[in-house]
């Protein structure tokens, strides 16, 4: 029943309701597909027994006429989300053997809505990376290859396992997290849809912390409708997360009206960066033209502090990470490497447990927070953040939504980018959104000259994911992106 893995979540919902197939059959089809796709290294822990058990419960619910919104939908969960009794290591060696005794709120919300978990998905270690090359469990491979080439490509990161799995149809949808672009960039590089909602929309409780003022969970899905369905279930107000916002979660699917007449779409001139490939510039213009043809008004805007967002991010994120990752000390969970005394045990454990990129960021974070440097770096970066936020607030006086490219390039090969700063530049179009706490969605909009997916990003006002979904849905229809990677694996 391999065709079952072709179905989108909206189609699964209809098919299960109409008794065309059972949740058990659907889950088995995915388990088979996962077994045949291990070369992608998207899953680092498969949970077929749990999946079958959940699917059996879903079939019972369906038979009793008590189906929930995601009843029987097989999902992959990024390894950053705590799942009771299941491998949860943020793809780091330092969390060796960690199995939480609780569920992250987002995972619990999905399970409460009837979702089936197929396993935990690979990612950059502690979500630090843009290519999924920093995972302790090895690189994730992008199902897409350049036309006529058999060279492996990265899926982007940090939610690389989520993006690769959704693109390869080895889950119906996946959870991701986005601190500087970690949902939207991999979505763009794999021809999938990824949304980072407004900061505070999804609870961070039970998600392994990276940079707490930036981290936000969201879905990666095959299309805009599926992303809307998933976000509705993931989002909630959670008293256990002090920054989770107490606001009703709208029915995002209802916002997919197809009507954007009168919508004002901003095009920020600062996103036309030096050295950007012409094909990306062209796609961006095409995106604006599609929206205009549907009755939107395209307005040139300016976000003058755009170029400072990424360097400011590389102060704020490592600073918060160095503080959050202080908890990994070999005492309460994970790896312990013995030493002569307590301090050398800490030092040995953290040297062996953290990979190179994580160590680099903890060191930078420790430096910028250290005595005498706090004001010059961290406070300065937070002042820049206020300016970035103000740029957007001024833009919202003129426009309802902002259109930009999602990434400066299509997928690249593992090992192609070795300089840390060059790797960080992958997030140049996405990171401003995290710095300002706004929602952003990446939509596949076309193919590069080499036949690889390219994405466009829409940025919205805080808590206005509905306008993002509505606009993205129209753009998706006009882009008509139906390309699929050849199944070489």
């Amino acid at each position: 029943m391999s065709h079952l893995t072709e179905l989108k979540i909206s189609e699964i919902r209809d098919g299960l309701a109409g008794r065309e197939f059972s949740a058990a059959e659907l889950t088995d089809a995915y388990i088979n597909a996962i077994e045949g796709s291990r070369v992608l290294n998207a899953y680092i822990a498969e949970t077929p027994d749990l999946a079958r058990e959940q699917a059996a419960q879903s079939d019972k619910r369906l038979a009793d006429g008590e189906a929930r919104p995601l009843e029987g939908v097989p999902l992959g969960i990024k390894d950053l989300f705590a799942v009771n009794g299941v491998h949860t290591q943020a793809c780091s060696h330092i969390l060796d053997g960690f199995k939480p005794t609780y569920n992250a709120t987002v995972a619990a919300n999905l399970f409460d809505d009837g979702a089936v978990m197929l396993g935990k998905l690979n990612m950059d270690e502690f979500a630090m990376g843009s290519s999924n090359e920093t995972s302790y469990y090895g690189n994730v491979i992008n199902p897409w290859r350049r036309e006529g080439s058999n060279v492996a490509l990265v899926p982007g990161g940090s939610s690389g396992g989520s993006a690769s799995a959704v693109a390869a149809h080895i889950c119906a949808g996946a959870t991701g997290t986005d601190t500087g672009g970690s949902i939207r960039q991999p979505a763009a590089l794999t021809g999938t849809v990824g949304i980072k909602p407004t900061y505070g929309r999804c609870s961070r409780w039970g998600i392994v912390a990276f940079a707490s003022s930036l981290d936000q969970a969201g879905p990666i899905a095959r299309d805009v409708r599926d992303a809307a369905i998933l976000l509705k279930s993931m989002a909630s107000h959670d008293p256990r997360d002090t920054t989770s916002v107490n606001a009703a979660v709208p029915d995002y699917e209802a916002s997919l009206t197809g009507d954007i007449r009168g919508l004002k779409v901003g095009v920020p001139k600062e996103y036309r960066v030096d050295g950007m490939p012409e094909e990306i510039d062209r796609l961006w213009e095409q995106g604006a033209a599609w929206l205009k043809d549907r009755g939107a008004e395209v307005v040139d805007i300016s976000l003058p502090h755009t170029k400072y967002a990424l360097p400011a991010y590389y102060i704020v994120a490592p600073a918060e990470a160095s503080s959050n990752l202080a908890r990994y000390d070999g005492v309460r969970y994970g790896l312990r490497v013995p030493g002569d005394d307590l301090v050398s045990m800490y030092e040995n454990t953290r040297a062996a447990g953290f990979g190179k990129e994580v160590q680099r960021r903890v060191l930078i974070g420790t430096y910028v927070l250290s005595a005498g440097y706090y004001d010059a770096y961290y406070v300065k970066a937070q002042r820049i953040r206020s300016l970035i936020k103000r740029d957007f607030e001024e833009a919202w006086n003129k426009v309802d939504v902002i259109l930009t490219p999602a990434t400066p390039s299509p997928a690249f090969a593992p090992g192609e980018i070795t300089d840390p700063v060059q790797m960080y530049l992958n997030d140049v179009f996405t990171v401003t959104v995290n710095m300002a706490g706004l929602p952003g969605i990446s939509v596949p909009a076309g193919l590069s000259g080499g036949g690889l997916p390219l994405g466009l990003q829409l940025i919205g006002k805080a808590f206005d994911e509905e306008t993002l979904f509505r606009t993205a849905h129209v753009m998706e229809a006009d882009a008509g992106f139906t390309a699929r990677p050849d199944k070489w694996w």
Binding site: G200, R332, M345
Partner: protein
């Protein structure tokens, strides 16, 4: 601003990460590469700008000061490298 090799050793010590002597020169180069790039921020006059303190304007959530969770020590020490009778075990710290 830039770091020298002594500073690399000092921040590694502060971060409780053992760094081999052979790794110090490379780390010095990588950290300085990042710090040099960050210097771009000095172009921006932030004199009158308040640092951002919250992403979304909202009142701090408060709750009554009472015990709302707990009572499961076995779960708490379940993932520890070493534990005994509900306690985490660490190398001796007092002579």
């Amino acid at each position: 601003m830039s770091v020298d090799q002594d500073t690399v050793r000092k921040i590694a010590r502060l971060a409780r990460i053992k760094v081999d002597e052979a790794e110090v020169p490379q780390l010095e180069g990588e950290l300085n590469g990042i710090l040099k790039w960050i210097e771009m921020l000095n172009e921006v006059d932030t004199g009158n700008i308040a640092p951002m303190t919250s992403v979304v304007a909202m009142d701090m959530k408060k709750r009554d000061d009472e015990v709302t969770d707990g009572g499961y020590p076995a779960d708490i020490v379940k993932n520890a490298a070493e534990s005994d009778d509900g306690f985490f075990m660490v190398p001796k710290v007092v002579e």
